[in-house]
């Protein structure tokens, strides 16, 4: 297939599937909490709605930084799709993309001048201290497989079995990272309801549309990376089933746990990262 067509197709798939999965998560959470909940396509409808609504910009915002940062978020997650499903490139590059996502999340909040955005920004800095150690999972994968290239990791699993079974603590670390990026999660301190919508509070219309578009792709990509790296060699139906199962499991956790305060959130994640790293190294040695 033509490369541009392949990229376009994968971006559309990741956006649509990611949006529906985020809608599914809300639906499952609502049913657990004895509520009817919104339709599964609600996130998708919201995204389209925001693209059509009038945009407004706070007079306190840092221009054009405030606008460009949302477009940058879209660009980096489209880049993630190219690195992932399109080219099956380097896992290290995906880490770089995630690092830039953290930076954009931080500055989308602070650039508006809103105190809620600012608090979200400071929390994003705290949470980076917890999420970056969780990404140490990449090094464990490298130590196990001898490569950072996704296609090679899949080949390794075809020969030696799924990494989920051989380095389960590393899989747990990555799952905690996925959990922390899900809406309403115990670790979602940057978008806690105590600070309204966190870094998204002052983004309206088109800009919110960009943010929601990126959220959908980000969710799809995190699940895609998890399934590719720890199970590997799945067909499209396998990916879809895997994503639905993980999303439902995440929704179950989110529905039953309160959001932690920032310090507890960071310390819990750091503790899990420490257990994951040390445990995985011990498993690799023996």
């Amino acid at each position: 297939m033509n490369l541009m067509a392949n990229i376009l197709l994968n971006v559309i798939i990741s956006f649509l599937v990611g949006s529906v999965l985020l809608g599914l998560q809300r639906k499952v959470m609502a049913r657990i909490q004895m509520r009817p909940g919104p339709p599964i396509i609600q996130h998708l409808l919201h995204t389209f709605k925001f693209f059509l609504k009038e945009s407004a910009f706070p007079k306190t915002a840092a221009m054009p930084f405030y606008i460009a940062i949302t477009a940058m978020l879209c660009v980096i997650w489209v880049a993630a799709v190219i690195v992932g499903p399109v080219t099956e490139g380097s896992l290290l590059l995906f880490f770089a993309i995630y690092a830039i996502h953290k930076i954009v999340e931080h500055n989308a909040g602070s650039s508006s001048g809103s105190p809620y955005g600012k608090l979200s920004c400071v929390r994003a800095v705290f949470s980076a201290a917890a999420e970056v150690p969780l990404f140490a999972v990449l090094i464990i994968i490298y130590l196990k497989t001898g490569t950072m290239i996704l296609s090679n990791i899949v080949t390794y699993q075809n020969q030696h079995g799924a990494l989920l079974l051989s380095i389960p603590l590393a899989a747990l670390m990555f799952f905690v990272l996925i959990l922390s990026k899900s809406p309403y999660s115990p670790f979602a301190i940057t978008k806690g309801k105590d600070i309204v919508s966190g870094y998204e509070t002052e983004h309206f219309g088109l800009l919110r549309g960009y943010l929601m578009f990126s959220e959908s792709i980000a969710w799809y990509m995190l699940l895609w990376i998890f399934l590719t790296v720890f199970i590997g060699g799945l067909n499209p139906v396998g990916y879809l089933i895997g994503m639905v199962v993980i999303t439902a499991f995440v929704a179950f956790i989110n529905a039953l746990t309160p959001i932690l305060n920032p310090n507890h959130s960071v310390m819990t994640q750091v503790t899990l990262a420490f257990i994951g790293i040390v445990g995985s190294v011990i498993l690799l040695l023996y």
Binding site: T60, A62, L93, A99, I100, H106, S110, I139, M148
Partner: protein, 226 residues
């Protein structure tokens, strides 16, 4: 070891005498991201931070004054360019110089703010960054002593890792952590981020995270577990 198993195939190299810049998709992406954010910072204004007034129901706006804006913007651009350079250099000593420059200008970006809490945080960060300089250069020097080269493209060809290389790597990592102020030093950085000037704060965070990601690549080049 083949360097392409880390960041993808080498797309090109630029030899500048002893210093060789190399571009894999991984390095190129981070280089482009650093330059894009630097360009954005260069053309952006700062936000007015809205804060609640203590004891009343009013809000007040905290703004960055013009002299402070100019100084911080200049330092942020230098930081962005140093970060971009650190992403593509294939020379370990060159990388340490870029990281040191990033540490110095990061301190400057926050030290220009006339707020006591922020200056306290900048002072503490400055101490950590200065202390970090010793293991940073010491680690690079030990790697040089162990391998006879500071070219990453040469080091990657060495088929073994000696204990001195591993020890140098640990010192090198500690130095980078100190210079960039990442965990466990992040608590002071969060205080620095409470000040207005979002575009300038971005470059502090951007440089730290990108340098850490690049450091992982360098450590895996020096230390070969296979």
């Amino acid at each position: 070891m083949d360097i392409s198993i880390l960041g993808g195939p080498i797309l090109g190299i630029i030899p500048l005498g002893d210093i060789v810049l190399y571009f894999t998709p991984f390095n190129l992406f981070m280089f482009a991201a650093a330059l894009a954010f630097t360009a954005l910072i260069a053309i952006s204004s700062t936000e007015s931070q809205v804060e609640a007034e203590f004891g009343t129901l009013k809000n007040r706006e905290v703004k960055v004054d013009k002299a402070e804006f100019k100084l911080r913007r200049f330092l942020a651009i230098v930081c962005g360019l140093a970060t971009a350079g650190a992403m593509v250099t294939g020379d370990l000593f060159d990388f340490t110089l870029f990281v040191t420059l990033i540490g110095i200008v990061n301190i400057g970006i926050v030290a220009a703010v006339k707020e006591i809490d922020v200056l306290d945080a900048a002072f503490q960060y400055g101490l950590i960054a200065m202390i970090g300089t010793l293991p940073l250069f010491g680690g690079a020097a030990l790697v040089l002593a162990a391998t006879g080269t500071i070219s990453l493209l040469q080091i990657v060809q060495i088929p073994y890792t000696t204990s001195l290389m591993a020890f140098g790597s640990i010192l090198f990592f500690l130095g980078v952590a100190g210079e960039t102020g990442v965990a466990p030093f992040f608590a002071t950085k969060a205080e620095m981020f409470r000040t207005p000037g979002s575009p300038f704060l971005l470059i502090i965070h951007l440089s730290s995270l990108l340098v850490i990601v690049r450091t992982i690549e360098i450590l895996l080049i020096i230390n070969k577990p296979f």
